[in-house]
């Protein structure tokens, strides 16, 4: 089991250490870790001379956990991910200052989340009841009175029930439940312009504020499109196995009900046509972006970013729509926004190669970003959401959106 958790800042400084068992881990292990060459340091599981290290990096913060004995490495990694999720939820983001400023909360959370190296309470809803997240009111209170405890005196009711994700008896004057389909499209277009892979990763996100102990059933119109899925622990397996129905007692508030994959899609909503010719030390680049198949809704926040190859010494790029920025680390971003109706956005310009190089032999990959509100590109449709006992004043809502995940266009 885990013996110790360290939080490291992006400069390698140990911000926090939490010893979990009697076998204390000296913080010198962090220095050792930080001094490793990058290729080794970026491994998620590292065998150091004294310990096995698990690490994840989230927003510049390295979460490092140590163990000396055999344990499922994924358990350590998943737990660290959970810690990072909870922390960024509590602190409203993650960075060095936030962690340092709220170190007491971090300690309290860690203490509650893990006991003797084994996860104890990781359900965000229960944690929120046990340790109040910092908010403006408590901050002001603590400034004025100098005292505001954020540790609850009582055990959350959910902690002991067989539905640990839900407080026993929440009461709302108006009952609301919203279902969001949030999809991410992953696609790869190879250098011949061929779509080699196009799939959608989606999540069914819900927000429920329902009185009592509601039992919900969600059904899809076309569950057969789903390639594979993963469920929140509240989903009962049986109804899904037999009828592809999602039957569950929802947690209170925001949660991710399920995630799914839809594979082998035929089309991306956008096309990106890059062209590059290089001769005698300069390259001419032109990239066209346009709508391939109209999804029926506006495609928003289209961006295109790519890393200029090392051998490019300078770049002069301009576009007929949107803005182009080139950062010092040779990352070039073209922010398009929406596609105008009257013209096709085009990025063009020249790249100067380093002296001595005639032609470009390595080519960048364009990462495409976009967002479409109101549509799920996978084609998955929600049929209906039923409540076993319908509470008074019930509002149900459905939404969908798609954004680009790993959408790579190779040049």
């Amino acid at each position: 089991m885990l013996q110790c958790i360290f939080l490291l800042s992006d400069s390698g400084e140990v911000m926090l250490e939490k010893q979990l068992t009697g076998h204390r881990v000296d913080r010198s292990i962090c220095a050792w870790f930080w001094d490793q060459p990058d290729s080794f340091k970026s491994l998620p599981v590292i065998a150091s001379p004294t310990h096995y290290l698990f690490q994840i990096v989230r927003d510049g913060i390295t979460f490092l956990a140590c163990t000396q004995v055999e344990m499922p490495p994924l358990m350590g990694i998943e737990f660290l991910c959970r810690v990072a999720d909870v922390l960024s939820d509590y602190l409203g983001g993650l960075n060095e200052d936030l962690v340092k400023d709220n170190f007491i909360i971090v300690y309290e959370l860690l203490d509650e989340m893990i006991d003797n190296g084994f996860p104890l309470t990781t359900e965000p809803n229960i944690l929120r009841e046990m340790i109040a997240p910092p908010n403006l009111v408590t901050k002001m209170l603590s400034v004025v009175t100098g005292n505001a405890s954020n540790v609850s005196d009582t055990l959350p009711s959910g902690a002991g029930s067989c539905v640990p994700w839900r407080p026993t008896d929440p009461k709302y004057s108006s009952n609301e439940v919203y279902v969001d389909l949030v999809e991410e499209m992953d696609a790869i277009v190879n250098r011949d312009g061929e779509l080699v892979k196009c799939e959608v990763y989606g999540e069914v996100q819900m927000s429920s504020q329902l009185t009592g102990f509601p039992d919900l059933t969600l059904s899809f119109a076309n569950p057969s499109v789903l390639e594979d899925m993963r469920f929140h622990p509240c989903v009962r397996f049986r109804p899904w196995e037999s009828h592809q129905l999602l039957s569950f007692v929802p947690p209170d508030g925001q949660f991710k009900l399920m995630s799914y994959m839809v594979k082998k899609l035929k089309n991306t909503p956008l096309y990106v046509k890059p062209q590059i010719t290089s001769d005698s030390g300069t390259c001419r680049v032109s990239v066209l972006v346009g709508i391939r198949s109209d999804p029926g809704k506006t495609i928003e926040s289209i961006t295109l970013s790519f890393q200029l190859p090392h051998c490019v010494s300078s770049a002069d790029l301009s576009s007929n729509h949107g803005t182009v920025t080139i950062l010092s680390n040779k990352t070039c971003t073209w922010t398009i926004g929406r596609i105008p109706s009257d013209k096709t956005p085009c990025l063009s310009g020249t790249l100067a190669l380093e002296t001595g190089l005639e032609r470009l032999h390595v080519y960048p990959t364009f990462k495409v970003g976009f967002k479409i509100m109101g549509i799920a590109l996978s084609g998955l449709r929600i049929q209906k959401l039923d409540l076993q006992t319908i509470p008074p004043r019930l509002y149900k809502g459905f939404r969908a959106q798609t954004r680009a995940g790993d959408f790579d266009v190779r040049l």
């Binding site: 140990v14 010893q19 068992t21 009697g22 970026s42 491994l43 998620p44 096995y52 698990f54 994840i56 000396q68 004995v69 055999e70 344990m71 499922p72 490495p73 994924l74 990694i77 998943e78 991910c81 200052d97 400023d101 709220n102 170190f103 007491i104 909360i105 300690y107 309290e108 006991d115 003797n116 084994f118 996860p119 104890l120 910092p134 901050k139 405890s149 540790v151 609850s152 009582t154 055990l155 902690a159 002991g160 067989c162 250098r191 011949d192 080699v196 892979k197 990763y201 594979d228 993963r230 397996f237 196995e241 995630s259 190859p309 001595g356 190089l357 390595v362 960048p364 790993d406 190779r410």
Partner: protein, 1100 residues
């Protein structure tokens, strides 16, 4: 202008950050020490205490040692504020091990909190108490865990389960059975949350105690989907291990499927069967899963042990084994879990246990895991790789999932490439190669080089595609050699080298048909500038110099070229040129021989004056070896002298050998269980356990009757008055309702209902700690003095209940055993360590003259060396140092009046000890703590040696002479948590009774017990009671009472020993201690139980 704006933006963001930081603990983290912390800790305001504690935590977070505040912090454990409490606990847990003495001070508060009506407070107290990890309080903590394991609140029970590994970690052997018992109870809990934590405890405490699982197997399987994700991970593994140990592997599973695959329809439509299933590898994998590292090492390192020797008796089948079927059923929905670790664990079970045709269903869930975080992705890929190595066809249709996207981390990319080259089939290879072409143009050149290597692997696996691959690679070599002109491009050289090596791997399968490719490579020598690539090509010239028809004809030209370029080459290349020259010369045809000989001689001459000494050495070596060739003028002269023929043979052997095809299997022929850490780091991590041996666990049916049931039955038999109407059911929650739980278990008066619960629990009967408060028992004790003339009709529930059947008692008196008491001696110094000086010590029962706190110890010095030893003395180590104030205050708290007494009253110095001589000295010692040894310095011959004087608990008490009546009265005042009992075996009397036939058997039993007790501790024998109604052989009911006072505090301590069993056989003793000082009492109890079991020579 931008600068200006930038600076404004910076100040703005600073300002906004400052606003955001208001009300947070930022100032505490930044300057934790800007105020003095100590007075804040003593403040009467909770908020100030809170601030002080936060400052301390900030210091801990920054890596400072603030353990010196420990005493002040511990005081605050009594605070009512939950925040202060939480912070104190955080601090305590961090430092408890460093400051054990002070940590003990907090125990009472934990005890109090454990009785709090608020479950959160109870849980915190339990977590902290178990977490401070002191051996001294382990018995108390165990008792607390036992209590909390039956708490009405799930959360508390869960914490109890988590506390068990903490106690187990202390490695106290005497508690091990009790801990395992508790694991069993918690595994049987009806709440999934508790079961999950119990599964974790099981894995770390007793992973091979399958009996515990066997009892609840079906229930555990049913509850599995409801268990929390973290518990699921470990529970899945536990269930798998149990099933393998109980039933063995599944006959239809992949692990045992060496033959008959075609009939299974496993291949589907996939064209070539040859590569869809590597039977050797699969059997190797299954072998690795089962055998531990020792067996692996002992097995010879060859792979030919393919025939897996699984006895058919050790296998089972899904069809007719219910347990296997349930396991597969309950784990397969977990493939949909949200937690990657659960999915992988469930996939592992299916992989090992599922019938061959069902293994397919793990593929999609595993592929879905590739959409999770980078770190998880990497671990999952490592595991998928093993699966794919064994059964490539499993993942072959899903090759698109392993296409690389630009955001992947380098390691993930590398693994995906390996995966692609593993699963490529004739139908998918064209798409995969097209992808590879793209990757080669990637700006990350290391990745591009890996891709080139992967192409080589693909071509090697699929014999039909090499031509396409080779053409591509050759084009690449040509192109790269242009780009290679520019050395500035990092990693560029790697791609070229890799390309040449890949070509070489492809060619080596069938060199003859690739003759043209080889020639093309040779031709490109001129343009290839990278030394490593050149070296490889030149090496190929040597290897393939006699291949086909065209190459031998080119040889002279190539060799000439090499000789010409020798001067300008890197030394790496030079070495290869020398080798090649040698090989070329050996295989030279007659017509070219003279020419070649001259070129080679030229090369050797150049080599001999090279700057690099490796090159010079190699040249001289080759020159010497080939001297016979270089000297002669015709290549194949038959009239070579005999010594020359030997040289020729050696040369032939060194240079002319065929290449051995190199099998990648040999590289990684070690596999670990899927999902394990060992599989990722590729060595057995400490604590890694392979699957248990198939069918190694034999399940006894009658064990299925759970302990508590048996207990209840036994009690009902014994006890007619207590009807079985009592509803005690381990999975009914009725007994846990809040009404019955009044939170006062640790106070002296528990109510009836609680007692019933306590008694119903098997824990009390078997474990060595009993904290039950039992008024009924109490009553019976008070009536004890009337027992001589009145039959006891009360029902007892403690082990002493056994004497219920006896009607009357006789007191017996034992003759003078004092003369036979032989105190035990301990070794202080081994003659081996003390250069011949041997020191033993014995605790004396005499009362110290210095103070009541001192113990007299007789020290026996013996000189077993040949030289006299002079100036022997023992001194207190502490006396030299400045005494630690904190420790003084702690000790002083209990007995302030003796504070100024030194801890060691020294002995008279031994001026000289002749060889063979021995001398006794008396020292008086005051121990700081009843378990901690005292450090002394031994001086002799002018040397100083540190030694440790260990306290014997039995002598930290003094005899307390009281009458039986007083004894009973005192005992009745110390019920409940002041009473603890333990059972142990006793065998000393057996020898004794048989030897002295004339003596009364009971008397001799009493004598041997008394002797044993008095030889090991300083007690007063109060009385010996003998049940009158006993038959001659039955010693059951015999009871001995001893009394004493604790040396340091003068608190009375009562010991009763009750005997059970036949006179001539081993006896079972129940030792009971009543004492207010719980920690001391429990430790003494353990000590007594331990020495009673020891067979000592003193009894004979």
């Amino acid at each position: 202008m931008f600068n200006q704006f930038g600076s404004t933006a910076e100040t703005l963001s600073k300002a906004s950050a400052a606003v955001l930081r208001i009300g947070t603990d930022a100032h505490l983290y930044d300057d934790p020490e800007d105020v003095s912390i100590a007075p804040l800790l003593d403040s009467k305001f909770e908020s100030e205490k809170c601030e002080a504690l936060k400052r301390l935590l900030a210091l801990i977070a920054q890596g400072f040692d603030v353990s010196n505040f420990f005493p002040q912090v511990v005081k605050n454990v009594a605070s009512q504020s939950s925040e202060v409490k939480k912070l104190v606990y955080l601090y305590l847990l961090h430092y408890a091990e460093k400051r054990p003495n002070e940590a003990l001070l907090s125990i009472n508060y934990f005890q109090k909190d454990l009785g709090d009506p608020n479950p959160l407070v109870r849980a915190w107290a339990l977590r902290t108490m178990a977490g401070i990890r002191l051996h001294v309080i382990a018995p108390l903590a165990l008792a607390a865990v036992g209590k909390c394991a039956r708490d009405p609140a799930v959360y508390v029970r869960k914490c109890a389960a988590n506390a068990l590994p903490k106690l187990h970690d202390l490695r106290l052997d005497e508690h091990a059975p009790a801990i395992e018992e508790l694991v069993g109870i918690l595994l049987n809990d009806h709440s999934p949350g508790v079961v999950g934590a119990a599964a974790a405890a099981f894995t770390s405490i007793c992973p091979n105690n399958f009996e515990l699982i066997g009892k609840n197997y079906k229930k555990l399987c049913q509850i599995l989907p409801d268990v929390e994700e973290w518990g699921q991970i470990l529970l899945i593994g536990t269930l798998l291990r149990y099933v393998v140990a109980r039933h063995g592997l599944v006959r239809e599973s992949l692990m045992l499927s060496l033959h008959g695959l075609e009939s299974n329809g496993f291949y589907e439509k996939d064209g070539d069967k040859s590569d869809s299933f590597d039977a050797n590898l699969v059997s190797l994998v299954s072998k690795c899963y089962i055998e531990g590292p020792d067996e692996y090492l002992s097995r010879s390192n060859c792979v030919d042990t393919v025939a897996a020797s699984f006895d058919s008796k050790e296998t089972t089948s899904v069809g007719d084994n219910e347990d296997v079927k349930i396991l597969l059923q309950c784990t397969s929905p977990l493939l949909w879990s949200n937690n990657s670790a659960v999915v992988l664990a469930a996939a592992g079970v299916q992989w090992i246990m599922a019938p061959l045709e069902d293994v397919k269903k793990i593929v999609k869930p595993l592929l879905f895991l590739l959409r999770s975080s980078t770190a998880s992705k990497y671990v999952v890929l490592c595991n998928i790789l093993v699966f794919a190595k064994a059964v490539p066809s499993l993942f072959a249709p899903h090759f698109e999932d392993f296409f690389i996207c630009s955001s992947d981390a380098y390691q993930v990319k590398a693994h995906k490439l390996e995966m692609l080259s593993l699963i490529a089939t004739t139908s998918s290879i064209s798409s995969i190669l097209r992808e590879f072409e793209d990757y080669i143009k990637d700006p990350d050149r290391i990745f591009a080089a890996d891709t080139v290597a992967a192409i080589g692997l693909c071509a090697k696996r699929l014999p039909k595609i090499p031509t396409t691959c080779l053409n591509g690679l050759l084009a690449l070599v040509r192109q790269e050699s242009f780009a290679g002109d520019l050395e500035s491009v990092e990693g560029e050289a790697g791609v070229l080298v890799q390309a040449v090596m890949s070509i070489q791997t492809i060619i080596e399968r069938d060199p003859l048909s690739h003759e043209k490719v080889i020639i093309q490579l040779f031709r490109s020598l001129d343009s290839v500038k990278v030394a490593a690539a050149r070296a490889t090509i030149i090496w190929m010239v040597g290897v393939y110099c006699s291949l086909g028809h065209i190459i031998p004809r080119m040889l002279t030209t190539i060799t000439k070229y090499l000789a010409w370029s020798f001067k300008s080459e890197a030394s790496e290349t030079k070495l290869q040129i020398l080798n090649t020259a040698a090989k070329v010369l050996i295989s030279a045809e007659v017509e070219d021989f003279q020419m070649l000989r001259r070129i080679v001689l030229y090369v050797f001459e150049l080599g001999e004056c090279d700057l690099n000494y490796d090159v010079r050495d190699r040249t001289r070596f080759l020159k010497k070896m080939l001297s016979y060739k270089l000297a002669c003028h015709e290549p194949a002269e038959d009239s070579v002298a005999s010594q020359e023929s030997i040289a020729a043979q050696v040369v032939e052997h060194v240079f002319g050998r065929k290449l051995n095809p190199f099998s990648p299997l040999n590289l990684h022929n070690r596999f670990y269980l899927p999902g394990s850490l060992s599989q990722i780091v590729l060595h057995a991590a400490p604590g890694y356990e392979p699957l248990p041996k198939p069918c190694s666990f034999v399940f006894e049916e009658h064990d299925q009757l759970s302990d508590s049931d048996r207990q209840r039955e036994a009690r009902n038999d014994l006890n007619g008055s207590q009807e079985s109407s009592e509803t005690v059911d381990e999975d009914g929650s009725s007994e846990y309702d809040s009404e019955s739980y009044n939170g006062s278990e640790f106070s002296s008066d528990g109510d009836e209902r609680n007692d019933a619960n306590d008694a119903a629990d098997p824990l009390i009967q078997i474990s060595d700690v009993a904290v039950s408060t039992d008024p009924e028992e109490l009553r019976s004790k008070m009536a004890l003095d009337l027992w001589l003339d009145e039959e006891s009709s009360t029902s007892n529930q403690t082990p002493s209940a056994l004497d219920r059947n006896q009607s009357s008692y006789a007191k017996i008196s034992i003759g003078d055993v004092g003369s036979r008491v032989k105190p035990k001696s301990y070794t202080l110094l081994d003659p081996g360590n003390g250069s011949g000086l041997k020191i033993d010590y014995t605790f004396l029962s005499e009362v110290s003259t210095a103070s009541p706190l001192h113990v007299c110890v007789e020290v026996l010095f013996q000189n077993s060396s040949k030289e006299p030893i002079v100036e022997v003395n023992l001194e207190d180590e502490e006396a030299m140092k400045v005494s630690d104030s904190a420790e003084q205050t702690l000790v002083g708290k209990a007995n302030a009046s003796y504070n100024n007494v030194p801890t060691l009253i020294p002995m008279e110095e031994l001026s000289c000890l002749e060889p063979g001589q021995s001398a006794k000295r008396l020292i008086q010692v005051r121990f700081h703590h009843h378990l901690l040894p005292m450090r002394l310095n031994l001086h002799y011959n002018g040397k100083k040696v540190p030694v440790k004087l260990r306290p014997d608990l039995g002598y930290l008490v003094i005899p307390y002479s009281i009458t039986v009546e007083e004894f009973l009265a005192t005992e009745s005042r110390l019920p409940g948590m002041f009473e603890y009992s333990r059972r142990c075996a006793f065998t000393d009397h057996v020898k004794d009774t048989r030897m002295e036939n004339g003596k009364d058997k009971f008397l001799s039993i009493c004598e041997s017990i008394t002797l044993k007790v008095l030889s090991n501790s300083n007690l007063h024998l109060v009385s010996v009671d003998l049940p009158v109604a006993n038959t001659l052989e039955d010693a059951t009911g015999l009871r001995l009472r001893f009394s004493s006072k604790i040396l340091s505090s003068e608190i009375p301590l009562l010991i009763s020993i009750t005997v059970e069993g036949k006179c001539n056989e081993d006896l079972n003793l129940t030792v009971k201690i009543n004492c207010e000082e719980t920690v001391f009492g429990l430790n003494l109890l353990n000590r007594i139980a331990n020495f009673m079991v020891e067979t000592s020579s003193s009894a004979s």
